[in-house]
Each structure stands twice: as C-alpha cells, then as structure tokens.
C-alpha cells in the first residue's frame, strides 16, 4: 500500500504534459473546455457505438480517457447506456447486424443529442467497402453531425470532432 501511493506521488500529474510540441493540444484543450462549459452545461456524456469497426478507433478512444488526454477534466464522460448519453460516438462501417442496433441506440438517446462518427470507415467504409456484410457509412443509418477522419484518428482528432459537433449545436441554437 505505501508503495502504491509512493509511486502515485512520485509520478505526479501526467495530464497536459505542457511543451511546444503539444501546444496545439493545449489550445484545443482550452477550447474544448470553454465550449463544453457553454454548451450542455460542461457535462457531456458519450455513448460509444462500435458499428463494426476493426477496433483501431476504440483503442484511440480509450486513449482519450487515459491520464494523458483525460477527457474527464472537460466533463466528458463515457456512459453505459444511451439513455444517459448526449453524444453517440460511432465507429466503423455499419455492418448488417449492427444496423438496427445502431438505429435503436440513436432512438434510445434522449434529445438533445449529437452523433460523431469516428474513423474513415464510418464515413467511407474504408477497406470494408463493398463487403457483403456492410451496408454502408454511418450517415446512411442515422444523422451524423460530424465525421472524424483518420484510420484511426488520434485522440486529439476525436476531441476536435466532438468540439465541432458541439459547435454545430451552438450554431443551431444561435
């Protein structure tokens, strides 16, 4: 037990390793923070939907919640049920089997809600295009607010995408 806490103390905060290389991230972080405060009361609940992805995107999304990116500090948290969510983070091309579940997830999310499609596959089906198991991009099934390109996109990209989506909401409201 002491060993654990000694290590915790020695390590210190790992979030925001401030430096020139990450300046953009810092800026982004500050921007997200502000936006998050303004929109949705600085509390954004995300439900992640894997509509058929190769799990590359998932790994990046996991990175988002890790200590380095630490999305929680912006009030972004991942939740276990679309009922609790404000935003759906959809990855992968939509497979045949996931079409209905994805639509149901969308329906199960209370308004106001956003959809961010993460990764190339979500937009173009990527290498899976034309597969008999795939019915198409996410926007064929549910309305998508923002696409985040990349294969996979970095956590920062995802964060940016979320931000963009929030912007759209504020634009709509305005």
């Amino acid at each position: 037990m002491p060993a654990l806490f000694r290590k915790i103390l020695q390590t210190g905060l790992v979030t925001e390793p401030l430096g020139p290389a990450e300046a953009e991230i810092v800026q982004l972080v500050a921007q997200v923070d502000r936006q998050a405060q303004r929109l949705l009361g600085r509390a954004l609940a995300i439900r992640e939907v894997d509509a058929g992805s190769c799990n590359g995107c998932e790994i990046e999304i996991t990175g988002l919640t890790g200590p380095v990116y630490d999305s929680e500090r912006f009030g972004i948290q991942f939740v276990a049920s679309p009922r609790h969510a404000d935003l759906l983070l959809v990855t992968g091309p939509v497979t045949r089997n996931m079409e209905v579940p994805l639509r149901k997830t969308y329906e199960a999310t209370p308004d106001p809600k956003l959809v961010v499609a993460v990764g190339d596959c979500a937009q173009t089906c990527g290498v899976f295009r034309g597969s008999y198991a795939v019915i198409g991009s996410v926007d064929k099934v549910i309305p998508v607010d923002v696409f985040v390109p990349g294969c996979p996109p970095e956590p920062a990209d995802i964060l940016r995408g979320i931000l963009a989506a929030l912007d759209r909401v504020s634009a709509q409201r305005a």
Binding site: R83, V100, P101, T105, E107, A108
Partner: protein, 676 residues
C-alpha cells in the same frame, strides 16, 4: 350491550353456515354466506372494542354444556378482546373478498357448501377461542378451529397435492393439540380447569412442572403459530387453501398461537424464569430468519407468503421473548414495550399478510397459476390488485411510513433495552437477535422486490398472464380495506399503542404503563429511549413527493417525455424470456446461504452428435431441500414406517402364533403375579 353483540356474532355465523348448508346455488348464496361471516366478524370486532374501551370483561357460563369439564365458560378480557378484534379485522375483508372469489368454485371442482359452512364455523371457533375461560372450552374451540380450517385447506380436494398438504396440516396441528392437552391438564393439576383457578393454582406448582407446562405450551401453540421447526405445514397448507382462507389462516389463525402463549405463559403461569423468554426469543429469531430465507427460494407466490408468515411469527415471538425476559427481571416498563411490539406486529401482520394473500388470490384468480415464473406485467392488467399488493409488500418489508415499520421499530426498541438487563449472558444474546431481526427485514425487502417485481412488473411470462384481468369489485373492496388498514396502522401507531398497553395491563403483574404519546403524534418508547413519528414522516414524504415535481417545474426542467423501446443493448425484439426470473433474482442469496440451502444441482448438457463443441440444449435444475424436512421430519417418518413394518409382523396370519402370544402373556403375567 355486550351480550347483544355476542349473540349477534353467534347468530350471524350460524346464519352464514346455515345458508351455506341449505341454500341453493348461485351468487346470492355466496353473498349471504359472506354477509353472515362479515356481520359476525363485525359484531366480534365491536364486542372486542367495547371490552377494551370499557375495561369491563364480558362473561358467560353455560354449565349445561360440557358438564364434565366445568361447563361452557366464556369470558372476554382485554387480551382476548384484542385478538377478537384481530379476527374481526381480518375476517371482514376476507369475507367480502370471498364472495367474489368463491365464484370460481361454481364449476363444481370444490364444494361451495362445505366451504361456506366451514368458513363460518371456522370464524366462530376462532372467536370462541379468545373467549374460552376454562380448559375444556378452550381445547374444544381450539380443536374446532383446527378441524374447520383443515376442511378449508382441503377445499380443492380434487388435487392430490392439496390432500397431502391437508395431511401435513392435520398432523402438525394435532401434534400441537396433544402438547396443549398435556400442558393444560398438567396446569389443571386435578382441579376444575377454570382459568381463574389455574391462575391461582399455578403459583403452587413446582418449578419443574411449571417449566414443563411452559415448554409444552410453547411448542403446542408454536405448532399453530408456525415457529421453526414446527412450521412445515404453513408452506403446504396456505397455498392449498382458497386465498381468502389463506389470508385468514395466515393473518389471523396463527396469531391465536400467540394468544395462547401469552395466555398461558404470562397470564395463567404469571411469567417464569429468564430462560423462558430467552427460549421464545431464540425460537423467534430462528423462525424469522429461516422463514424469510426459505421464502426467498420460493417461486410459488402463496408458498412464499406462507414462509413469510413463519418469518413474521418469528418477529412477534422476538417481541414476546424480549417481553418475557424483561418481565422475569422485573423490568416491567421494558417488558410492556416488548409485548406491545409483539401484539402490534400481530395486528399489522394480520393486515398486510391478509392483504398479500388476497392479492395473491386475485392473481391466481386472473392467471390460474401461483408460479411467479409464469406471471409478469400484471400491473398493467390488474392495476388495483398491483397497487394493493405493492402496499402490502412495502408494509411487510417494514418500509416507513407503513405499519410493518412501526411494529418492527417497537420490537427493535424493546431489544435495545436489553442494555438494562442485569445478566450479561442474556444481554449478550440480544445483539445477535437484533442482527437476525435486521437481516430478516432486509431479506424480506429483497424477497418482496422479487415477489412484486417478478409477478407484476415487466412483460408477461405466459399466455395466462397476458390475458389476465382485474378482479371483481368485491375482491377489490376486500383488498382495499386491508390496504387502508396498512396505511392507517402505519401512520397512527400513537392511537393503537396506548390501547395495547391497556390490553396488557394486569397480565402476569404487568403495570398499566401506556407508552406516552405527545401532541406531535410520535410514538415514544418508555423512559424516553427513543421516539419517532410515523405520522409526520408520512406527511413529510407526501409533501416532498408533491414538492419535488413542483420545484422541478418552477426550475424549468425539461418536461418532455417520449415513449420508446426498451434499451436492450441494441437487440431486436424484447421478449419475456430475456427477463430476469425469480430464480435468477434469488440466485445471489442462494449462493450466499448455500450452506443452509444445500441446493442440489443438476446440469444436463445435450451435445450435438457431431461435435461436443456444439450444444443442443442445456438443462439446469436446482432444488433445495428444506433443512428441517431433511433432519427432522424425514427421519421421523422413516422411523414410524420402520416401526410399523415391524409391528405389522405381529399379525402374521398364523393362528398358532396368535395362540402363542396368549400363552406367552399368560405365563409372563402368572410369573409376574406370583413373584413381583
């Protein structure tokens, strides 16, 4: 006034029985029978109320009847009056309910005539038990009550399981009678058997005899009350009986075991050594815990309720046990508190368990099954029944502000008083009892989440449940009365508790301590140990329940509401087979208490013929064998069978052998006569 009420009671029950016996078929008869029973019960209730209010006992002696045992002696003192009130309170709704419920028997699969006659006679016998004032009258009425209830249990005699239940009931109740007979006859000590004589004579008995009487009476009345390990008949008989009868048996009849114990231990014997109380307390605690643990494993709604009767009787006995312990130590105020707790729980249990059995009856009526695994979704199909059952469930789970909480609080408070006991060995047992009581009430809550949740909520699990319908008006009225009683008794213990103090005053030298109630409507434990005000808490909860939506509206919360599919992780089409079942609900507790349940598991996996990596079907069976059946009753039955197989050999068929018996006994007796 009292005599009039008494006569009205007798006449009404008699009328009900006669109508049932002689009347033609049809609903009118059912109504008249119910009217007779309800009137009788009402008169009994009024009689009890008058006696308690005036403090003036009602007495009647008919020496012509039962002349060999001192005549038919009746006397209603406040203690009896209280139980007469319990009978009345339980019987009126049950009778009203029964008018509708027994319609189901018109198709002839049970004898309506027998049901009507026995129902009225049962109520009459029960009422007279509380009035009996000598040994023989008591035993007569007691046995009459057992006998009539036995016939009520086997109303649906066309089913073999009903008859088996009846056998269990008859056996246990008769064993109890045997013990009671022994206890009372010992108590008579060759005297007249009038209770006043017993009271006077009990002082002169030797301590051993007093102890023996107490133990006999405890187990004798315990077998009726259903304390562990004599509870085995309850989960069999209650489900077998028609539901309004179950309500009466569970809500009222088993309470007469409590009455009997109080009458004998406290009134006639005048209390005893501390270990009496400790024994009662221990049996109560064990009953409470075992009852609820077995209830958790039940998926037959009425069996579940029956096990809960064991639990609640246990709670009542905890109160009585605490009372007896304090009584023996001279801590009269605390003793009164314990007894009051027991008595209050008695009437509370009568109301909520009666309600629950009636509710279960409505469900049975609507779906034709008692198996919870085949119910579900009934809250939409039978909203009134569901509401009443919910009230009953919350009450039995001791949730404030309903009545179960009030009485369990009193029992807790009396146990907390154990601090004042001069003897540490007993005092140390009390925390254990507190723990068991708390565990019991927690498990009860879990059990009723299961009972209500699985039966009434979610999707129907069978076609029958899907096509369930609300019960007829009379049944709903019956339930509504009891539901109101649950709420009223929960909110207003301040009105009842002082009355209970009056009921107890004078029994076994108890002082007339009536727990104080102040203008803030609180119930206060004696000596200011603690106080609560269920009434204000209830009001507060209602106010808050109204306030929260109001504030939300004022704060402009989003009031939009959309009805959608259930969120099921995206799967398509929700069916009842996906729901949690009663078995799975209870599974964690089954594993926690596996040592006790010792579930027998049987897993049959049917593999695909081609490869055992594919499975065609999996069958999982798990059964629990109740502990006492395993360690007590089965061996006993086996023993009886073995002995009787041996004894049957006596009658081997050979006349030579028979003559041999005569020769042998002749020689034996001659030798004995000559030399011994």
């Amino acid at each position: 006034m009292m005599t009039v009420l008494f006569l009205v009671m007798i006449a009404a029950y008699g009328f009900g029985a006669c109508v049932a016996l002689l009347g033609g078929a049809g609903l009118d008869r059912a109504r008249l029978v119910a009217a007779g029973a309800a009137t009788g019960a009402g008169a009994g209730l009024a009689l009890g109320a008058v006696v308690i209010a005036s403090g003036q006992p009602f007495a009647l002696l008919i020496p012509e009847l039962l002349p060999i045992a001192g005549g038919l002696a009746l006397r209603l003192d406040p203690l009896g009056a209280f139980f007469l009130i319990v009978i009345g309170a339980g019987a009126i709704p049950a009778a009203i309910y029964g008018a509708g419920y027994s319609k189901a028997y018109e198709d002839g699969h049970a004898s309506l005539r027998l049901l009507g006659v026995m129902f009225n006679l049962f109520l009459l016998a029960m009422s007279l038990v509380t009035l009996a004032d000598n040994v023989f009258t008591f035993l007569l009425m007691w046995e009459g009550m057992s006998l009539t209830s036995y016939f009520l249990v086997i109303t649906e005699s066309s089913e073999d399981s009903t008859l088996r239940s009846g056998n269990w009931y008859a056996a246990m109740t008769h064993a109890g009678l045997a013990l009671l007979l022994a206890a009372f006859v010992l108590l008579m000590n060759g005297g007249t058997g009038a209770f006043s004589d017993l009271r006077a004579g009990a002082v002169t008995l030797s301590p051993e005899v007093r102890n023996l009487i107490f133990v006999l009476a405890l187990f004798g009345f315990g077998s009726k009350a259903g304390i562990v390990p004599l509870h085995v008949w309850l989960p069999r008989a209650h489900p077998a009986a028609p539901s309004h009868v179950s309500a009466l048996m569970s809500g009222v009849m088993i309470k007469l075991g409590v009455y009997g114990l109080l009458r004998v231990a406290l009134d006639l014997l005048g209390g005893g050594p501390t270990w009496w109380g400790a024994l009662v307390l221990g049996l109560g605690a064990v009953s409470a815990l075992f009852g609820v643990l077995y209830a958790l494993m039940e998926h037959d709604l009425k069996r579940l309720l029956a096990y809960h009767s064991v639990e609640n009787i246990g709670i009542i006995f905890i109160g009585l046990g605490a009372g007896l312990i304090f009584h023996s130590s001279g801590l009269m105020t605390l003793a009164v508190l314990g007894f009051i707790g027991g008595l209050y729980h008695t009437i509370n249990h009568a109301s909520f368990k009666g309600l629950l059995f009636l509710g279960a009856g409505s469900v049975l009526h609507a779906t034709g099954t008692r198996n919870m695994e085949e119910m579900g979704g009934l809250i939409k199909r039978m909203p009134w029944t569901a509401l009443f059952f919910l009230i009953g469930s919350a009450a039995i789970s001791a949730l404030p502000p309903l009545n179960g909480f009030a009485s369990e609080w009193l029992v807790f408070q009396s146990l907390l008083g154990g601090l004042a006991l001069p003897m540490p060995e007993i005092a140390l047992a009390i925390p254990i009892a507190v723990g068991m009581l708390a565990l019991t009430s927690g498990l009860a809550a879990a059990c009723f989440v299961k009972a209500f949740g699985i039966s009434f909520l979610a999707l129907p699990r069978s076609r029958e449940a899907e096509h369930a319908h609300e019960s007829p008006l009379s049944m709903r009225v019956g339930m509504a009365i009891l539901a109101l009683a649950c709420v009223a008794l929960g909110l207003a213990p301040f009105a009842v508790v002082p009355m209970l103090g009056g009921v107890l005053a004078g029994l076994g030298g108890l002082p007339d301590t009536r727990p104080v109630f102040t203008l803030d409507l609180s119930v206060q434990a004696p000596a200011g140990f603690a106080q609560i005000s269920p009434a204000w808490i209830g009001v507060g909860l209602f106010v808050l329940l109204a306030l929260v939506p109001l504030v939300m509206r004022l704060a402009r919360a989003n009031r939009k509401l959309r009805v959608g599919d259930t969120w099921g992780c995206g799967r398509i089409g929700q069916t009842a087979r996906m729901e949690y079942t009663a078995t799975s609900f209870a599974e964690p507790l089954r594993r926690v208490f596996a040592e006790l349940y010792r579930p027998a598991k049987e897993l049959t996996i049917d593999f695909h013929p081609e490869s055992k990596y594919f499975v065609q079907s999996i069958e999982y069976k798990s059964e629990i064998m109740p502990l006492f059946e395993r360690v007590l009753y089965d061996p006993l039955l086996r023993l009886v069978r073995r002995v009787s197989r041996q004894v049957r050999r006596v009658q081997a068929g050979s006349v030579h052998l028979y003559l041999m018996y005569i020769a042998v006994i002749l020689i034996l007796l001659l030798v004995a006569a000559r030399w011994f």
